[in-house]
Point group: C2
Chain length 338, copies 2
DNA sequence: ATAACTTAGTTAAGCGTTTTCCTATTTTTA
DNA sequence: TAAAAATAGGAAAACGCTTAACTAAGTTAT
């Protein structure tokens, strides 16, 4: 592999000039510039990022930190979308993505080292459960960081997330408008930062506005997996007074509800209306197709990186949290209460 | 952030000694070593990977190259598992993962640059369609590389993949043992390297061994999405002579088949037996639960990295392709032909 | 007692860039 | 037409680490 000296020699200039040409610094004549570029072409030269990082203090690498604890979070298909949005946007701007799937137990491991070692110019952290330490580690170093999700609970700075409140509100309002008054809610894990609280708040607000009251007995918790939705729905569907509709805080848990309902001989949507959250690709293909709240996952990644660039390149310290709009997608799993 | 000089000064030694301590080179006295380590601790020092990479020619970063063309491949939940296997194994060995989602159209973009610039010590490429260039780019530089999937068609070197042949063979054999003779096959895209050919070969072999002949009219193609399975199954299920069983080369397409069958009033498994491939987490939760071939996705990532380390650390040039066993999971979507 | 090792630690070069000063030439301004 | 300003390019230091080569002291073998 050729280095900057090879190029300089071939173009008959100094390495300083080569560097200037490559970084578009002014005061290089057109002829010289062309000669250098020709040499670069001939040698198929590309500058060593390691060397560049050493002088520059810029590595053109962003960290993407995703908690790997617990395992089941990782089966979320939306996550892949987020990753895709992050990677593509970074790449469009000539940045690369270093992936860190942090385990809480890690101390001094490769992942920690990378976050501490000037190897990345900034980071995106996917916020999940309370008690993740990666974010603090980054902040302590003053590294630019953008959260996907809710940072430190509901701190309205430097994060990007969907409008969870609104989504839940719309979901429940939709059910109420269909005549439902007994509405069960399956939440995600209670210690999942921010999002679940917001969705619960949205759901409650919708009830309140309709003059209905929230029945704590109709609130259960799952862990986002389909299996947990199945379990949670037992509580709701096998009690004496069962709800006529269920709002599940993600689609996968909703599939669990469907399965349970089927087993109990309940027909959707006639006997039970069901609204999910996420709009995973499968949602439209279920039987009946699932009414749900669409969340812009790729977009979350995209916006997070764009915002991170503002912090990195413009030296900004903070920005107002970006809340991305969600959309109610009405399909076949909800119907008017008869 | 402190550097090696700070540590050296504090410990009253030369930087060389610090470096030796940190890399466990012999000929450092216990006392000195302890003094250095104490200084490291006090200063919370960790060496700059950039600088280290410059001298070392080791970056402790592996590239993970995943084609991003076409989009729909990316919705594969198995992919996340593979990524997880790769990342975790790399991390366990103090390596990090640089994610590259290559678009074919990219030339000279961030991703290409990273692959050419001595920034990674090796790479894992996820093989999908023919004509991907990232692999060649890496090979041209002599960078160690392991493929997940089938390298250059069926080249039996330096790759890791599941036993696609065996999986398809078992799937179809299972159907035959249940008495089915008219078996439809929904393949993935024909230009998907290796895997589809192998699965088709497996299916044909099973038929042949049972003295049945392969009916080309019962072979259709999808693109791995549920929607394409739905479309493909129309061809199979709406003809005059329809198969009594279908082998779908992935689970998502199988869900499309289920949907179509339901629409046509066909009951699974009585009227139609269905076998998928992958065993995605949803498979067990479908109605009926899907009989399928389980593929070890996390394991593929894990093995790929392990093998890559052999190439990098031991300087090996090649290894025999690792074929990971698959497993037939019999659930409710298949039954004896009556 | 001397030669030959072994151990412990240091010096300084080198990895491949970028960037800050410089110098020299050309162009503009008054 | 002289001074000032703009343009073009180069020399060399700096980034933070590793490592080859070296020195010096202590240990062992003869």
């Amino acid at each position: 592999m050729s280095n900057i000296y090879d190029v300089a020699r071939l173009a008959n200039v100094s390495t300083a000039t080569v560097s200037k040409v490559l970084s578009n610094t002014p005061y290089v004549s057109v002829q010289t510039k062309e000669r250098v570029l020709e040499a670069v072409r001939q040698l198929d030269y590309s500058p060593s990022l390691a060397a560049r990082g050493l002088t520059n203090r810029r590595t053109y690498i962003l960290g993407l930190v995703i908690p790997n604890d617990p395992d089941y979070l990782f089966t979320d298909p939306q996550l892949l979308e987020v990753i895709r949005g992050v990677e593509n946007t970074a790449n469009d701007n000539d940045y690369n993505i270093l992936l860190s799937m942090a385990k809480k137990t890690d101390q001094g491991s490769a992942y920690t080292r990378v976050l501490r070692t000037g190897y990345i110019d900034g980071a995106i952290t996917v916020e999940t459960f309370e008690g993740e330490t990666a974010g603090k580690l980054l902040d302590d170093q003053g590294l630019p960081r953008v959260s996907i999700g809710y940072r430190n609970g509901l701190n309205p700075l430097n994060s990007v997330h969907s409008d969870d409140y609104r989504g839940a509100y719309e979901a429940v309002k939709h059910l109420i408008e269909l005549g439902h008054q007994q509405i069960g809610v399956i939440s995600g894990p209670a210690n999942f930062v921010g999002a679940m609280e917001e969705r619960l708040r949205g759901a409650k607000t919708a009830l309140l506005e309709a003059g209905l009251e929230f029945n704590p007995g109709f609130l259960t918790y799952g862990d986002f997996t389909a299996e947990s939705g199945y379990q949670a729905s037992r509580v709701l569907l096998e009690g004496t007074a069962r709800p006529t509709a269920i709002f599940s805080m993600n689609d996968r848990m909703a599939t669990g509800v469907m399965r349970r309902a089927r087993e109990l001989g309940l027909k959707l949507p006639e006997d039970l209306s069901l609204v999910g959250f996420d709009d995973i690709s499968l949602a439209a293909l279920l039987d009946p197709p699932l009414t749900t709240i669409r969340q812009p996952s790729v977009e979350q990644g995209r916006v997070a990186v764009t915002k991170l660039f503002e912090l990195i390149k413009e030296g900004k310290k903070e920005f107002e949290t970006v809340v991305l709009p969600v959309e109610l997608i009405v399909r076949g799993s909800t119907t008017r209460l008869n």
